[in-house]
């Protein structure tokens, strides 16, 4: 009797073990297939960017370049004006980043640790702005900013993005999680508001601050809609727009210069992807943190 029961349990354990093994194998196989599909466009972009023009037009594509033509990158930077677009993108992103961080930190403080009449109403005004995207307001914005003579300028590119309700909201939430006693203690120590923000609140919310700022950087760098509207000339064109124009820059059939377009695409994503790999931990949670409210 006992022996039978034991054998039964053993058999069940055996089959459960086998099931788990099969499940693991299936999971690995599916994961690798999915991974290959997802990674392919990135691989194809990199490989195509170093091919020669003849090779890229072959009827049977080569999965690995025969020769490496790194001069494609030089061509894009010089002939395609990408060096200038880089500068424009960097300045625009820096402007957006700095202004959103500064306005966001102060407003985040005001809405969490500050006390004043109408605080609730003011915060509703900020949250309400989340519901008004630039895709709705761009027409009056364009007319207004162009009338100020700011089309094709850095200021024009940055102005609509100086304040980010999302950034303020995130900072307010994380400042609120900090106990008031820290702030009171800092006040007793004679710290002013700027001192409280820079010496107490910001260091305690380092990871949120950093994550949200990374998201802001990425959004700024990849910004497309507004630059397309306000910087229609060449002078302050940014990378994302320049890339879309690249097809027209090199004369001829659009398929003729795909190697150089791919080089441009690589150049445009490199800064963000480098950040992604360095700060993976933050960037993986960046969007989901925003998600959990």
């Amino acid at each position: 009797m006992d022996k039978h029961a034991l054998a039964d349990v053993n058999a069940r354990n055996e089959s459960a073990k086998r099931m788990r093994k099969i499940k693991a194998v299936v999971q690995w196989v599916l994961a690798i297939i999915v991974l290959l599909i997802i990674i392919f466009p990135i691989y194809w972009m990199l490989v195509s960017s170093v091919k020669s023009q003849e090779e890229i037009l072959l009827p049977v594509p080569t999965l690995w370049p025969r020769e490496f033509h790194f001069e494609n990158y030089i061509n894009v930077l010089n002939r395609g004006n990408f060096a200038k677009y880089y500068w424009n993108t960097a300045v625009m992103t820096a402007g957006i980043l700095i202004s959103q961080v500064v306005t966001g930190i102060f407003a985040g403080y005001g809405f969490s640790k500050g006390k004043f009449k109408g605080q609730g109403l003011c915060f509703v005004i900020v949250l309400g702005a989340l519901m008004i995207p630039i895709q709705v307001t761009f027409i009056p914005l364009y007319i207004m900013i162009a009338n100020w003579g700011l089309s094709d300028t850095f200021l024009g590119l940055i102005l609509p993005d100086v304040v980010s309700p999302y950034y303020i909201f995130m900072l307010r939430q994380s400042f609120m999680a900090i106990d008031d006693s820290y702030v009171d203690a800092a006040k007793v120590d004679g710290l002013g508001r700027i001192g409280i923000i820079t010496k107490v609140l910001a260091p305690m919310c380092k990871s949120t601050l950093f994550t949200v700022t990374l998201v802001t950087f990425t959004n700024g760098w990849n910004n497309y809609f507004w630059p397309k509207i306000i910087a229609r000339g060449e002078k302050r064109r940014v990378l994302t727009i320049g890339l879309a124009y690249l097809q027209n820059t090199f004369a001829g059939n659009e398929t003729m210069n795909n190697h150089e377009i791919m080089a441009g695409a690589v150049l445009a994503v490199v800064p963000v992807i480098i950040l992604f790999f360095i700060f993976q931990k933050y960037m993986l949670t960046g969007y989901s943190k925003a998600a959990m409210k």
């Binding site: 999915v34 972009m45 004043f116 008004i132 207004m144 100086v162 497309y224 398929t255």
Partner: protein, 301 residues
């Protein structure tokens, strides 16, 4: 004469208020004021190519609902809804499937997850030109792969039946990893007690998924639904680079429609009218989805 000192409480409140004033001013000028302007412009005949303009009453609204603009309004509404359904399906169904596939906690899977999530950080414009190249009819690699299994070349972006699908391929590539990450972090929050209890009752993994995982993830699903729906309605960039709304307006989503009136035709009046309609639509969708989200969700309590 001694200056009257202000109440320190009041001074403090004033300083706190000063912290948020710049933000309020900026939002007033660059977010709220444009809405007012938009309404005003919609009652004019403002064409950027003309020097003067005047108020014309409801002419633009008539044009939009009962005139030459109506057709394109319904067209862009239809395209946007189709696009939204596609993006929702990829993010929610695809994201869930991916979460199940990549739900294994070790270093290799961690690295794979990071790579699946990476496209979210690849600039849309870079991704779009890569897809333009992959989907190219004559020299694109997708058609080459298809030819290997005997399928003749598809004009992905030039055919009105496949153009929207092509746009969705790009969207799906960028969004699916995001859905996966959101679901995975929610899955890790589900207590293992439920699964152990179910195992004692003899439930198999399929039953466990439908009876435990899926219901427990419903707040996450709802969250993804609301945010993805609203952001998908604002799609522009992928359409702008891949198809410019074509062929025959088969990918002309709402924002592209507004953009075309404003920046191609320079009809600020018409563009503003459509923009207001779009704004109201966004608000309605937001309110409706918020309403639905109260109720219909299982919470762990």
């Amino acid at each position: 004469m001694k200056e009257k000192r202000m109440n320190p409480r009041k001074v403090s409140a004033l300083k706190d208020f000063a912290c948020v004033v710049p933000v309020l001013i900026f939002l007033a000028i660059f977010t709220y004021y444009p809405i007012v302007e938009l309404i005003r412009i919609s009652f004019t005949d403002w064409n950027l190519l003309k020097d003067t303009w005047q108020y014309v009453g409801f002419k633009n609204w008539e044009w939009l609902f009962n005139g030459s603009g109506t057709r394109y309004l319904w067209n862009s509404l239809r395209v946007t809804v189709l696009y939204s359904i596609g993006e929702l399906a990829v993010t929610i169904v695809g994201g869930m499937l991916f979460a199940l596939i990549f739900n294994r906690m070790n270093k290799a899977f961690g690295a794979m997850r990071a790579i699946v999530f990476m496209p979210k950080y690849v600039a849309m414009s870079s991704a779009a030109v890569v897809f333009l190249w992959i989907l190219n009819t004559d020299t694109g690699i997708l058609n080459y792969f298809l030819s290997l299994i005997g399928i003749s070349p598809v004009d992905w972006l030039g055919n009105r039946n496949t153009a929207l699908i092509s746009v969705l391929m790009l969207t799906g590539w960028r969004c699916i990893g995001y859905g996966m990450m959101i679901y995975l972090s929610a899955m890790m929050g589900i207590s293992t007690d439920y699964y152990e209890a179910a195992a004692l009752d003899g439930a198999n993994s399929v039953q466990k998924f439908f009876k435990i995982t899926l219901p427990m993830l419903s707040p996450t699903t709802l969250f993804l639904f609301v945010t993805t729906f609203i952001s998908s309605m604002k799609v522009f960039q992928s359409v702008d680079i891949l198809t410019q709304g074509g062929p025959y307006r088969s990918t002309e989503v709402f924002v592209y429609n507004i953009y075309r009136y404003a920046m191609v035709d320079f009809r600020m009046d018409r563009a503003s009218t459509v923009a207001i309609f779009f704004f109201v639509l966004l608000l309605l969708v937001t309110v409706a989805t918020m309403k639905i989200s109260k109720g219909n969700v299982t919470y762990d309590s």
